[in-house]
């Protein structure tokens, strides 16, 4: 019993017999897949580590980037939402292992119930990740990019809190029109124009005396360097080229462009795994309901999909540490 693959004769196929290492064919293959997938993920996470060591003195501080919690608008709550997501994924791992346990006891009702909870947990997690992405892409304060591709952020010198570009920049009415196919050269397009031009930011900064600039360089205590008022105006006038809002694959308002790229690729790759895990779970869930495994007298398929689901949780534990904590 155990799998759909079985031979009727008792003779040994190879030296390990039908179940080498005492694991059935399906479970063994799942372990092979997990090892190779673990190496793919470690490739991603280690190259993230490479970028962090390369930009050791200018990498964005995750605590200052991921501060948002749904329904808590305007409050800075670092870590809280990611901790919630981690907890949701661990809980869905627990319901999965409870489903596997119920499967060993051939308890169809319990397997159905726990599989259902697992799927719900997975959906909550993927939804949270989509929300994180949306918040990250939209951005909040905005920043100015320099000729060298570095990011200048704005602070209130009295409260030393971040200030949004749109709060102090002047909006001239004479701003340039977006070049689109219908009003310009028909075979060319340009990227969406930023909300403000650098001239507008400079004018706004000159008018509000308590705005200073924070560069992306870290001091010896790991805080971002804050410039004096004169230095701030100087650097903005001499090097500022464009206003950046939010994040994309080319630039982002948080700092080094690679930061956003790794965020998109690592959490995206992981989110895709969670998504496919949910799809697999749903398939198995319906198989449980229609009694496939009851007839087969074994719930090993639940165990195999469980292995994959735990692996996804395992990867998140590492992503959580290296992206949000370290």
């Amino acid at each position: 019993m155990g799998t759909t693959v079985s031979t009727t004769s008792n003779e040994k196929i190879w030296d390990g017999g039908n179940k080498p290492l005492n694991a059935s064919y399906g479970k063994m293959m799942m372990w092979f897949f997990i090892v190779s997938d673990a190496l793919t993920f470690s490739g991603f996470i280690v190259s993230y580590g490479f970028a962090r060591f390369k930009y050791a003195n200018s990498w964005p501080i995750a605590d200052e980037v991921f501060t948002h919690v749904p329904f808590m608008h305007g409050q800075e709550l670092p870590m809280i939402y990611v901790a919630f997501m981690t907890f949701v994924l661990i809980m869905s791992s627990v319901t999965m292992v409870l489903a596997v346990d119920a499967g060993h006891k051939m308890n169809k009702a319990k397997v159905t119930f726990y599989m259902f909870l697992t799927i719900i947990g997975g959906i909550i997690f993927v939804g949270s990740q989509a929300w994180e992405w949306a918040t990250f892409i939209k951005g909040d304060y905005g920043a100015v990019k320099t000729k060298g591709g570095n990011i200048l952020q704005f602070l209130d010198s009295e409260t030393s809190k971040r200030v949004s570009v749109s709060d102090f920049a002047f909006l001239y009415s004479s701003s340039r029109d977006q070049h689109e196919k219908y009003n310009g050269i028909w075979y060319r397009e340009e990227a969406t124009l930023p909300s403000f031009s650098v001239e507008e930011v400079i004018a706004g900064m000159e008018a509000s005396p308590n705005i200073v600039i924070r560069t992306q360089n870290l001091d010896e205590n790991g805080h971002k360097t804050v410039l004096s008022r004169e230095e701030s105006l100087n650097i903005l006038k001499s090097t500022g080229v464009s206003v950046v809002n939010g994040a994309n694959l080319i630039e982002n308002e948080y700092g080094v462009p690679l930061f956003a790229n790794f965020f998109f690729f690592i959490t995206g790759f992981h989110g895709f795994h969670v998504f496919s895990g949910i799809v697999l779970n749903i398939i198995i869930f319906f198989n449980v309901i229609i009694g496939t495994y009851e007839k087969r007298k074994s719930y090993e398929m639940v165990e195999k999909v469980g292995l994959y689901w735990h692996f996804v949780d395992l990867v998140w534990v590492f992503v959580f540490t290296f992206f949000y904590l370290v």
Binding site: L21, M28, F53, F87
Partner: protein, 129 residues
């Protein structure tokens, strides 16, 4: 079923559970506590752990060790590695651990080297202009 017998002890036999379900709840509590410690350390970042050891802050070492602890219990108890034969366990764990450590060493070493080259004021590469 006899073939699904589970090993029910964690911490090398210090805690022994009566059933598999109890063990799962026990491991859940352990993982939640570890995550809670990580989150609290991540929010407050105690200054005592700011010292550097092997080019990495002590706080980051604490995070990495706690992560490996969590990974161990997820693999051993949720993925039932504890109940597999020792050969299967070694094949899976040693292969990945060896390859990942090797990859980590190479890339982190190289990243550190590029950092030194980048911010060496005596050469011509500039990142801030």
């Amino acid at each position: 079923m006899a073939e699904h017998a589970h090993k029910l002890e964690i911490f090398r036999g210090l805690i022994k559970f009566k059933s598999n379900t109890q063990k799962i709840i026990g491991v859940l509590i352990l993982l939640s506590i570890v995550t809670l410690i990580e989150v609290v350390l991540g929010i407050y970042k105690p200054a005592a752990l700011n010292e550097s050891f092997l080019n990495l802050k002590l706080l980051n070492w604490v995070f990495i060790i706690l992560t490996i602890v969590k990974a161990y219990y997820i693999t051993w108890d949720f993925m039932h590695m504890r109940d597999e034969t020792s050969v299967l366990r070694r094949v899976v764990v040693w292969t990945s651990v060896f390859l990942i450590l090797y990859l980590t060493f190479i890339l982190i070493q190289e990243g550190g080297y590029i950092f030194d080259e980048f911010y060496d004021t005596s050469n011509y590469i500039k990142t801030d202009f």
